[in-house]
Symmetry: C2
Subunit: 379 residues, 2 copies
């Protein structure tokens, strides 16, 4: 029984472009093609095509952000609480497109894709893609869908980086932008965590220089990378509230190196289950894209980067997010306002850390809903 405010059963679709001589040039200078992009759409495009919203996702996300791909699915898409009829992003009003990223492993072209030149998976022969490249691929998808302008681009974490890049790469196309729990560039600390995760993967003997497809996957390394990730997505406080020092299935310390604390068990479980649904090479490529992202760099400053923009912004951060701390969102807002760009800033009080952008959906949803409605009315 699917709830009334669900988008219901939805289908992931695939669009392929950049075939043959039309290969896409990437920021690194290399060319890539053919390129397939996985995407989903919900709701109806209005006759004036003024209601299209693009959803862009975080590291481990995919094109399936709402509803169910099959009646048997136990879990809906990754942002289902936010997207559906009557929800924060109301599919009764808006035509919602969720696009996967290139470099990933969720149906779009990435390192696990067969390289047509060799007949084998790219592995780390896949070119290093950037946030800008991801956005350019999404632009090709929108061209294919006949969408020439977007009411809004919305995304959290690495999705927020794509939002910012969308506005700079295609400023005339984007009326409203909602970057959530994100940054114009990663902190040194966040780069450091990414590097440890990559090293864990690349030092796993099963990684085999990235050429492990069809063999054992580098599960030990990827699980460790994911465990580190999970710690950075939560907060000291949320971990304390969720697990404290509770022991797992025992009354007293085991005095051994088998799991003692609930939090250990949780992290090990999350690490191990991630291995089943994510490609280790994609983890390398996507974290590298995040590390490289530096919106201001080509312009000398963030203020210069935003000069002349007409897009209106709603920037959202969460107090306990230490991976993308609020000061990074404030830097964005400050640079926008310096350019007299309309920018609403909301810092939500939350203990959930970086995960808050997926969890604090009620307040966040109301805010987004109002911003969209108001923004659409303004001609």
């Amino acid at each position: 029984m699917i709830a009334e405010d669900s988008v219901g059963i939805v289908e992931t679709r695939y669009f392929t472009f950049a075939e043959g001589p039309n290969e896409m040039e990437l920021e690194c200078g290399r060319k890539l093609g053919p390129i397939t992009i996985a995407y989903e759409t919900y709701g109806e495009l209005s006759p004036t095509k003024d209601n299209a919203i693009l959803i862009v996702h975080a590291l481990s996300g995919d094109a399936h952000c709402a509803g169910f791909n099959s009646p048997k699915d136990e879990k809906p898409g990754w942002w289902d609480d936010m997207i559906g009829p009557g929800k924060g992003i109301d599919t009764a009003k808006y035509f919602v497109i969720c696009s996967n990223i290139i470099g990933g492993c969720k149906g779009s072209t990435g390192p696990s894709t067969i390289n047509p030149e060799t007949g084998a998976p790219y592995g780390i022969g896949f070119p290093v893609v950037t946030i800008k490249d991801m956005v350019n691929a999404q632009k090709a998808l929108l061209d294919h869908l006949g969408i020439g302008s977007l009411l809004c681009v919305i995304g959290g974490s690495m999705g927020g980086m794509q939002v910012l890049q969308w506005v700079l790469s295609y400023p005339e196309m984007v009326k409203l932008a909602i970057p959530i729990a994100t940054a114009a560039k990663l902190s040194t600390q966040a780069i450091a965590f990414d590097e440890v995760g990559r090293r864990a993967i690349m030092s796993d003997p099963d990684w085999l220089g990235g050429d492990y497809y069809g063999k054992a996957v580098p599960s030990r390394g990827l699980a460790i990378a994911r465990m580190i990730g999970h710690i950075t997505y939560m907060s000291d406080k949320s971990m304390h509230h969720k697990f404290g020092r509770r022991l797992r299935d025992k009354e007293e310390y085991g005095y051994d190196f088998v799991t003692d604390f609930e939090v250990e068990s949780y992290l090990n479980y999350r690490g191990d289950s991630f291995v089943k649904r994510f490609d280790a090479n994609s983890y390398l490529y996507i974290t590298k894209a995040m590390d490289y992202f530096d919106l201001a760099a080509p312009f000398g400053s963030l203020k210069n980067a935003f000069a002349g923009l007409k897009t209106k912004f709603l920037v959202i951060s969460f107090t306990s997010d230490w991976l993308f701390p609020p000061y990074q969102s404030k830097e964005i807002v400050s640079a926008l306002r310096h350019n007299n760009i309309d920018a609403i800033y909301m810092e939500f009080e939350s203990d959930y850390g970086h995960d808050a952008f997926l969890l604090e959906v009620e307040q966040e949803g109301r805010l987004i809903s109002n911003f969209l409605e108001h923004g659409r009315k303004q001609a």
Copy 2:
């Protein structure tokens, strides 16, 4: 040329006890013996034996906290800025003992020690030792040295846990206590980081169930554990100041998975060099001892734990320390004051994160010096 305020050339000594039938009973219920403890001493014990100070160390520390073991040494002991004639802990006034911990790999009995029963290294056959066990072994050392009372016990991080345990285990022996950048129990987040480090080690194929001595060591896993550790010892701000987004030996992104950023290079270097000087099994044991430490647990509350103590406290924390955040020091101070125990609390403003306790030596040294002098005078 050794500076005038150095303790000069010092020798690490070794004391062995718990031999034969006198094996030491551990908190886990198992027995251990013989036990060797590495230690150093500086300065002279006063005729009334009222000037002995015990220094206890953090995870990767050792007995060598000041001076040089050889004229060829390039670096002095780990807290040399703090300990010496005229320094914060003045060896012209005090008799300073620095004791290594059991479970480690710096000369005291630990998992890399030969098990006399088997003739082979203990490996993970070594019993899980706790902070309390470490303190009990140090007590045996002090008995051997003829030290019946301590003017002060001082230590940071895991050293601070030993300080707290010393006061509870041997309250009549400790006049002053200085726990620095520590906690009465680890946060859930800190336990989580420890578990990821342990998993990195134990999932390294070279770990061989802990039985790797004489073979290749689990260097990949231990390096990853240490890299995670280093991130938690610094702060977002100190990493930003030290490295920012500077690239390593290049002007532009490499668009590959070789090191790009300085911070990556630094972490990889620190991880790799740690492997040469530390035993992976000891890393497992020591982090486990920290995770298990829960001073209040046997008493029901921290307030109850401190009831009736006469020891005076100087509790020190650092604003940017997120591994042992100031709120944990405040909890200690609050429970002490609830029992009308003299407790000075100092929260230093510092960007250095947890490392601050080793780096902010100037202010810290003055404070400690005054506290010791004042405390010694009070009969």
